[in-house]
């Protein structure tokens, strides 16, 4: 296959392996070893994307992770959202499309935005869309400023994976510095992890044709890679990016090409004793008008496309620079057949040795690029002399520029290391190290190969994670290189009409920065937020230092004083799949089930999550029954016959030791320690700031042995609370707590016929009220199963909680249903249980207990012990109440019209006026016993307002209701004690 811009020979591609791919529905060809970007350029594709804000046509600017513009969306098998085409390895059949354009990248309707640009300045969203509400504008802005769409379906082939690893050395970057460090560490016998984000090792040596020991540098790279491949103490990953440096030397790595083809991506979490950062440097843009036009590229990217991918990005080229690096490219670019028309250098003087490398190419010193012509492709550039301001237009199809080099200090900065400005290279370099890491090579501001090797050797001598010292024996003689720069953060743009971009990804222009400064946003973190410069997927890799330089220049201060914005992870965009690993779908947060889930499903239960990930039956509809019909039927069974409820999710704890009584007296508001064995008590737990934390029951088994139950959703928090008190406030107490939530399940039989049913099941326990009264428990057998039976009631009916071990739960449940059939037994779901407790006015955490009420508000004064000098929460409750403020108190509500339902949470206002609320409804249910709607509410001063009328203020109506005691059934509790 013939590619339009492919060179005849050379490059690190395999011309025997031709690969087809499609872009925006058209078929193209590339080779094994290409990236999507190099294959696109080889096929003469220039416009790849449309810009974020102005929809300007954008092409390929960089050759790797630094590219700020060439986002595409991958489709079908490889489906994933925002990908830089410079980062996507070309594969057979790859399908990609442009983003942020409609109907096509060549003709984009959104591009009209650029003509209204003056109406969309920096800070525009903050200023304009405040009134009446941001939500009014959000959908429009999201559509206009979209990135790629997320894939609709999870990947069809394969899965994601995560791994943990521990190592002596983690070396990040397999360029010359990283490879030398790897050899030194590996030869000492230490455990070494080497990761590199390129498809192959070599770093800058893949693009620069340098010599090591009189041979091509890549020969040295290849021999180093070969050596470590045979060492069992080295793990070497290519195509893998270290994207986060966390606390305690933890680095997270995204591996994209995994040896096992069924793994899409793998995430590594590596803890290393020593981390050696060798992440290189990224070329910085120059800022001049229209510096974003397709055909304007970073000079290093042009060299990489020529040398590594054998692609010629243009025929007639102009170079624009403020530093030496482009001069060393001339020989290779000329060899590739590129006609170099001029090197425009902003400096007054350059060294003669550097000038010699220009090889008779015209060098225009003390000059800048004033403008770029061409919309979808450069067709000429305007050069301006800084001396006489004379303009010269040079026709060309490629403008390569270099504003110097930014050491990749991202990981160092993420590790909380500090950075400082270095005048010699006009950029930021690592300063103080906080964790166990060092930076070597270009990411440390060291750019020439000789210096990189010398620095690596000397810095690694000081590192010893292993007994052996790190040394490199052997010579490393390298090609001569030199580097010098004169900072140019931007050309003079006063009175400039055309857009000059500081941050190409976010469309942040010179004008935006000026506006931020004019409006007083002078701190660099404010400039960032006001303009969005340095945000987004590229995190300002090519442009941020120019913004800092510009802010420093405008304010007349040093770059060190401006500082940088925070370097955040991820260093590159990372897929959610890779972060999640195997935690997909139901295993992200698994549901908790009781042993009868299968029975519930087989019996038509409507299941849902009911707190703490417990999957519970809501109700059991029969035939075409509605929700309300099913719930009414279940309630009716409990009130008139018998029902059975699965109470297994209740939190359950056993407490043992000499001081359990004292301990329970501390954590509950009432006295528990006086209980006789076999007896129990309902109790409330508060936090020490006087808020209700949990409610439940506590029973005494014998002198030093107790068990308590907590609400299902709070059992973990209660466990934590109890252990914390014992660990820090009362380490001297002898109290041992065992969490038995999962060791005991329970079937709660409730209803007036409960006792009759129990007697039918074979049992050695007497159930009559005299021998087994309310709030006691008995141990024995039922249906031949060992059981602990507790007389508590959450429904207000006669009720027995039969606790058995999980292996017996289903057997017990099926026996209860079988024997209960003659009494019309029904399984009861959470919904009916809710109705029954509201009829009784029993409180429910999250409904009546919302983190503001205390027990007095709920009418539970009797639970606040007056005898005890102290219990958790006592002081705070009384302190708060002593302020004498009006409290919201629990009341019942009877809607004047018995068929009026009040929505949960509905506000109550004085006389139903549209004024500040005086309370709200916490629950409202259809009461089967009262045949009407009944509700509970928290209402200001509610205890003194029984008999008055409350007005529930709905949007278009007022629901009037009588205020009552919060109990609608068996108010003196005769039934539950029967």
């Amino acid at each position: 296959m013939k590619n339009l811009n492919r060179l005849e020979s050379g490059g690190r591609i395999d011309r025997s392996k031709s690969l087809s791919f499609s872009f925006n529905g058209k078929l193209y060809y590339g080779f094994e070893g290409d990236t999507l970007a190099s294959a696109m350029l080889a096929n003469g594709l220039h416009v790849i994307a449309r810009s974020f804000k102005y929809h300007r046509p954008r092409g390929i600017i960089g050759s790797g992770v630094e590219d700020p513009a060439s986002l595409i969306e991958l489709l079908e098998e490889e489906a994933s959202g925002n990908n830089l085409c410079t980062n996507v390895k070309l594969k057979e059949g790859l399908k990609a499309k442009s983003i942020n354009c409609w109907p096509s990248v060549d003709f984009d309707v959104g591009a009209v935005v650029q003509y209204f640009a003056k109406f969309v300045p920096a800070g525009f969203y903050y200023k304009t869309f405040k009134w009446p509400t941001w939500h009014l504008f959000e959908p429009f802005i999201r559509r206009a400023a979209g990135l790629a769409s997320a894939p609709k379906e999870p990947p069809k082939k394969g899965h994601f994976e995560s791994r943990n690893a521990h190592t002596d050395f983690l070396i990040i970057g397999a360029g010359p510095a990283g490879l030398l460090a790897t050899l030194m560490a590996a030869r000492s016998g230490a455990k070494v992890f080497l990761v590199d984000q390129n498809t192959e090792a070599g770093g800058s040596l893949l693009s620069l044709k340098l010599n090591i020991n009189q041979k091509p540098a890549m020969a040295w790279v290849e021999s180093a890679v070969k050596e470590i491949a045979n060492m069992s103490n080295v793990t070497h990953l290519q195509d893998s990016t270290a994207w986060a440096y966390r606390e305690h030397n933890l680095v997270i790595i995204n591996e994209r090409e995994v040896e096992n083809v069924s793994i899409i991506e793998r995430s590594w979490r590596v803890r290393a004793k020593n981390i050696i950062i060798a992440t290189g440097a990224i070329e910085r843009s120059l800022v001049f008008p229209n510096n974003d036009r397709p055909g304007v590229m970073l000079a290093s990217a042009v060299l990489t496309f020529v040398n590594r991918y054998s692609v010629k990005p243009g025929d007639n080229m102009v170079l624009f620079t403020n530093n030496d690096s482009v001069y060393s490219y001339i020989k290779d670019l000329k060899t590739a057949g590129i006609n170099i028309l001029a090197i425009v250098d902003s400096r007054k003087h350059i060294a003669s040795a550097v000038l010699a490398e220009a090889q008779n190419v015209r060098v225009v010193l003390n000059s800048i690029i004033r403008n770029v012509n061409g919309y979808k492709k450069v067709n000429s550039v305007v050069v301006q002399s800084l001396v006489d301001k004379e303009l010269e237009t040079i026709p060309c199809d490629l403008l390569a520029h270099s504003g110097g080099w930014n050491p990749v200090v991202h990981l160092h900065s993420q590790s909380r290391g500090t950075i400082k400005f270095n005048d010699r290279i006009a950029s930021f370099v690592p300063d103080q190290f906080i964790q166990n890491s060092i930076s070597i090579g270009a990411c440390n501001g060291t750019f020439t190969l000789n210096e990189i090797f010398n620095e690596t050797k000397s810095l690694l001598c000081g590192v010893s994670a292993h007994s052996k010292p790190l040394v490199y024996e052997g010579k490393l003689e390298c090609s001569k290189q030199s580097y010098s720069i004169e900072a140019l953060w931007s050309i003079d743009l006063s009175k400039e009409k055309n857009k000059a971009f500081f941050d190409i990804q976010n469309d942040v222009t010179h004008d935006d920065i000026q506006l931020a400064l004019t409006e007083g946003y002078s701190n660099i973190e404010h400039v960032k937020r006001y303009t969005t410069g340095g945000m987004g997927f590229d995190q300002g890799k090519t442009g941020n230092v120019n913004i800092i330089g510009m802010v420093a220049k405008e304010q007349g201060i040093d770059l060190d004083d401006v500082g940088t914005t925070t370097f955040r992870s991820p260093f590159i965009p990372v897929s959610f799949g890779s972060i999640n690993g195997v935690r997909e779908g139901s295993v992200v947060l698994p549901f908790r089930h009781t042993p009868i889930t299968k029975w519930n499903l087989e019996n038509g239960a409507f299941m849902y999550e009911a707190g703490a990930r417990w999957r519970r039956p809501g109700y059991f509809p029969i035939g075409g029954e509605s929700f309300q019909q099913a719930v009414n039927r279940e309630c009716h069974a409990v009130r008139t016959g018998v029902g059975v409820y699965d109470g297994s999710p209740l939190g359950k704890f056993e407490l043992k030791g000499e001081n359990v009584g004292e301990f329970l007296d501390l954590i509950y508001t009432n006295i528990i320690s006086s209980l006789e064995p076999g007896n129990g008590r309902y109790g409330l737990m508060l936090t020490d700031d006087g808020l209700i934390f949990d409610d439940g029951v506590a029973f005494r088994i014998d002198k030093h042995r107790w068990f308590i139950s907590t609400s299902s959703g709070h059992s973990d928090a209660v466990y934590q609370h109890m252990l914390k008190i014992l660990a820090f406030d009362h380490p001297e107490w002898d109290v041992k707590i065992t969490n038995i939530t999962n060791q005991w399940n329970n079937a709660t039989i409730c209803g007036p016929l409960a006792r009759k049913l129990l007697k039918k099941l074979e049992t050695d326990i007497a159930y009559d009220n005299g021998s087994f009264p309310f709030m006691t428990f008995r141990e024995g057998h039922i249906a031949d199963i060992p059981a602990r039976i507790i007389r508590v009631s959450f429904t207000g009916e006669l009720s027995f909680e039969i606790n058995v071990s999980p292996r017996n739960m289903l057997v017990l449940w099926e026996r209860i249903i079988e024997e209960g059939t003659e009494f019309g037994i029904l399984p009861v779901g959470s919904e009916a249980s809710h109705v029954l407790r509201v009829e009784k006015g029993f409180l429910s955490l999250g409904h009546e207990v919302d983190g503001t009420v205390d027990p007095y508000d709920l009418g539970m004064d009797w639970l606040m012990s007056k005898k005890k000098l102290d219990y958790i929460g006592k002081r705070s409750v009384h302190l708060r109440r002593s302020l004498g403020k009006v409290r919201k108190e629990l009341v019942g509500l009877l809607p004047n019209n018995p068929n009026d339902a009040i929505p949960e949470g509905a506000p109550i206002t004085p006389d139903g006026k549209k004024v500040a609320t005086e309370g709200f409804t916490t629950a409202c249910v259809w009461s089967v016993v009262n045949e009407r709607w009944v509700g509970l509410a928290l209402l200001e001063n509610g205890h003194n307002r029984h008999g008055e009328e409350a007005c529930v203020r709905m949007k278009d109506e007022i629901i009037r209701a009588k205020i009552t005691k919060p109990v609608f059934h068996d108010s003196d509790g005769k039934l539950l004690r029967s």
Partner: protein, 85 residues
């Protein structure tokens, strides 16, 4: 993600632990302090830039509560802190 030293399980990842806040004053006898002192006890917790003693619970491990001294700037967990909490 911190690497936290549990006295029972040794070094484990932070995801296994629950944070229990910095170590403040001991709980006073509520009957012996003024309102102000009681409110101070509840609300005034150390929040320094630098070393601070704090409580952690090995929730997905051995259930132990324990105290470490962590530098809030560097996250370094000091093995031999100078003074007791």
């Amino acid at each position: 993600m911190l690497l936290i030293h549990c006295p029972f399980c040794k070094n484990r990842n932070e995801t296994e632990f629950v944070y229990g806040g910095p170590v403040g004053a001991n709980r006073p006898d509520p009957n012996l302090v003024s309102d102000e002192e009681w409110v101070d006890y509840l609300t005034m917790v150390p929040n320094p830039m630098g070393p601070v003693y704090e409580r952690w619970w090995h929730a997905r491990g051995c259930d132990q509560w324990f105290i470490i001294c962590r530098d809030t700037v560097t996250h370094e967990i000091l093995e031999n802190p100078s003074e007791e909490p």
